[in-house]
Subunit: 449 residues, 2 copies
């Protein structure tokens, strides 16, 4: 039984219990949310020891790090180092997007699956690489080839898979009539379009969606419905191609849920700040509350080298509006395959965005440390910031480092910048506002400083 099937049967699984514990939720609430399909737990029984990770209603915002070799650089060692960096930085999941040779793809996936984080893939990447090798070109693949890779990966234990089922001849027509600036920037979308036009046939992952559902149900693979028509620049955001695909993905959400398959939906991409909240609201409505997995979004096109910052801005606003799962963006985006440092910085930036959103999520009209107790994720987020405020007030540096999103970085940077033995920091030195006011107000805290 998949998690959603179990939930509907009223069976509390070990995974639901674990998510309830981690998120500070009642088990009954988790069961209800999983049954309704507004919370997914990607945990393939074939992935031993995988940490049950809740994505969706009631859960903290999760962060994914993309890894994987490229055809130019099939360097397994480098990918292993990047995986370690993602783990150190606190990623909740990793996706292996390898497009090196088939051997290296399988090796990197195996390395990822030895970890306890949920592992995602985009199976059409491996299918494309194999087709190019075995049949001379990406478009040489058959529908059976696609499903064979999906089944193999499901059997190996992959927990969630991006499938571009919404890229169809019909949605492609919409895109052509729209007249886009950047057309298609999704690789899976691009493969699918090339395949459809070459064969003059519709996308097998759409045409034979039930076949896909059958595999996903058997292995409890969570489907992540990919957005092949996601905008590749701000000017293309929220256009008719993107929204048409989203409508179709919404229908596929219904079918997946009916078939007892866990499902989430992927979203943009490049989106002006003013359209992000609307995009999230639209997805939640059209996809009947399915968890939303956003790629960024990037709020400007002109920040290569700093796209983790552009993505953190967009991700924070998206998650505040209700997005559940942030795919990181690294400083290498639009320039090349990320290295270890890029991966680390990308994860941290996305985690800052997710945390900032959690603090704001249910406090939209009200404020402060009070609010509905039901919203446990927000309450926990606030606890941490409040503890940090108090540690700052009392100039307790050790506690500040413990509470920092990256304790190692905070500790190292302070050590570099401040002579040892100084209580204040070199920013204000003797003119520390905290100290001056505490003394002036004659509060108890003055003693401690």
């Amino acid at each position: 039984m998949t998690q959603i099937q179990a939930a509907r049967a009223g069976t509390v699984t070990q995974q639901m219990r674990s998510v309830a514990q981690t998120e500070g939720l009642d088990v009954g609430a988790v069961l209800g949310a999983v049954a309704a399909g507004v919370l997914v737990i990607p945990a393939n029984p074939g992935h031993p020891g995988v940490t049950p990770t809740g994505i969706g209603a009631g859960c903290s915002v999760k962060v994914n790090a993309n890894l994987g070799t490229s055809s130019v650089k099939p360097d397994i060692e480098a990918e292993t180092r990047k995986l370690r960096a993602a783990l150190r930085a606190g990623a909740d999941t990793v996706m292996d997007l390898s497009t090196g040779d088939p051997e290296s793809i399988r090796t990197v996936r195996g390395i990822c699956l030895r970890e306890r984080l949920p592992v995602g893939t985009v199976p059409i990447y491996e299918a494309a690489v194999r087709a190019r090798l075995e049949r001379g070109s990406v478009v040489g693949m058959t529908a059976d080839d696609m499903f064979r890779v999906i089944e193999d990966q499901a059997r190996e234990g992959v927990d969630f898979m991006t499938v571009h089922c919404g890229v169809t001849l019909a949605t492609l027509d919409r895109m052509r009539r729209e007249g886009r600036e950047a057309d298609v920037v999704s690789r899976g979308g691009a493969f699918t379009i090339a395949w459809m036009l070459h064969h003059d046939r519709d996308n097998p992952l759409f045409d034979q969606f039930d076949r896909l559902l059958e595999i996903a149900r058997q292995h409890d693979v969570t489907l992540s419905l990919g957005d092949g028509f996601r905008p590749g620049c701000l000017a293309d955001a929220t256009d008719r191609a993107q929204v048409e695909e989203l409508i179709l993905l919404g229908e596929l959400v219904d079918r997946a849920r009916s078939a007892g398959v866990q499902v989430m939906v992927e979203g943009p991409g490049h989106v002006p700040l003013s359209q992000i909240e609307m995009n999230v609201t639209l997805q939640k409505r059209l996809c009947h509350g399915a968890p939303f997995y956003v790629l960024g979004p990037l709020v400007t096109d002109i920040a290569p080298g700093y796209d983790h910052i552009a993505g953190a801005i967009g991700g924070a606003v998206a998650a505040m509006a209700g997005a559940d799962f942030l795919c990181y963006v690294t400083p290498a985006e639009h320039l090349g395959l990320p290295g270890e440092k890029d991966v680390y910085e990308g994860v941290i930036a996305a985690r800052i965005a997710g945390h900032a959103a959690e603090l704001a999520r249910s406090a939209r009209t009200c404020a402060g440390t009070f609010g509905e107790l039901a919203d446990k994720a927000r309450a926990r987020a606030w606890e941490r910031d409040l503890a940090m405020a108090r540690a700052r007030k009392s100039l307790d540096w050790k506690r500040q480092f413990e509470l920092a999103i990256d304790p190692e970085m905070a500790g190292r940077k302070r050590a570099e910048m401040n002579p040892s033995g100084v209580t204040e920091c070199t920013m204000c030195g003797d003119y520390c506002a905290m100290k001056i006011v505490a003394e002036a107000l004659g509060s108890d805290r003055a003693q401690k400083c």
Copy 2:
């Protein structure tokens, strides 16, 4: 005559003409906005060659970089390097916040004033340092000491000054009754509170506000009304102390405008993402449209080492809501005095935030590259992103670097990550979506790839 006096007299100054040119606005619009006090041009006639820089209605979002020695590190060489870094990174203004010895304070200020950017200061810092030296303690300063420093700095050519006129015995009472977590984190606010409590007298910069206005008018110094009660942690955001001070600052805006003095207002600080738009709307209303200069805002307390990212998230949302001027936050915030690299990264992050906001500002309901032509800042921001989208589509790397927020970084990173001669990037390599789709769609662009 100050800019606002000239505008009211219907006189178009050289500065207004220059701002109109830079911002792509009609001179008449600039004149009207300056007369109304919704646009300031900090340009002290005593600062030769200063670039007229519009802050407020109709203008692009501006970015300030803070520099300055601290009592722990009065290193003039280091500050000079930081100034260069701020210039390279594209800061619009710099503030010299030196609190080293009086000699180094004066030297650093002189170095800043040799540049063409508008220069800001917080005069009470120098007054505090002098008082400690000459009178044994910060609180030893007299009201005349404060005004003497302000007048000296105005005469030297400082273009805008932060003055904490809203920190009064009455607003302090509000703060005490509120019960804050972090009390006061503004250094200027802290000095003022210590002074008021020591002398049992109200803040001279409030009590003798007309005297301050007289100096500002004489030298056309733009007053930046500081927020001494800005929240120092998320839990204190938008509390009664902060809002009470803002009301008072609004009244002082009226008085400054009446006296022919240019004035803007400073804002938080640490603010949950969900309260930022409200903070901007409230400031605009209470301060009758005065330009809003925000310090961040930081959307979480737990990101030391990465506060430039937390600040970019907050700054983008604030500027989208109407904030006009972003004070950068560096990765060193909450840890120590920033170094050269911190300054550079801080400016870039704030510029990304400002640009993302410009793209979104007037496109809140609508979208894309269309919109009111009147909003020139937005139109220009969109032009740049659109050009980047097209350069990406045609894999024109040279043009991508030109359009990047940091051309040097983008070029260097691509060179590092990609073997020379490769047209695509190492992220997708042979599986470049742009190339595949262009070929599949058989468009003209396929030829170019």
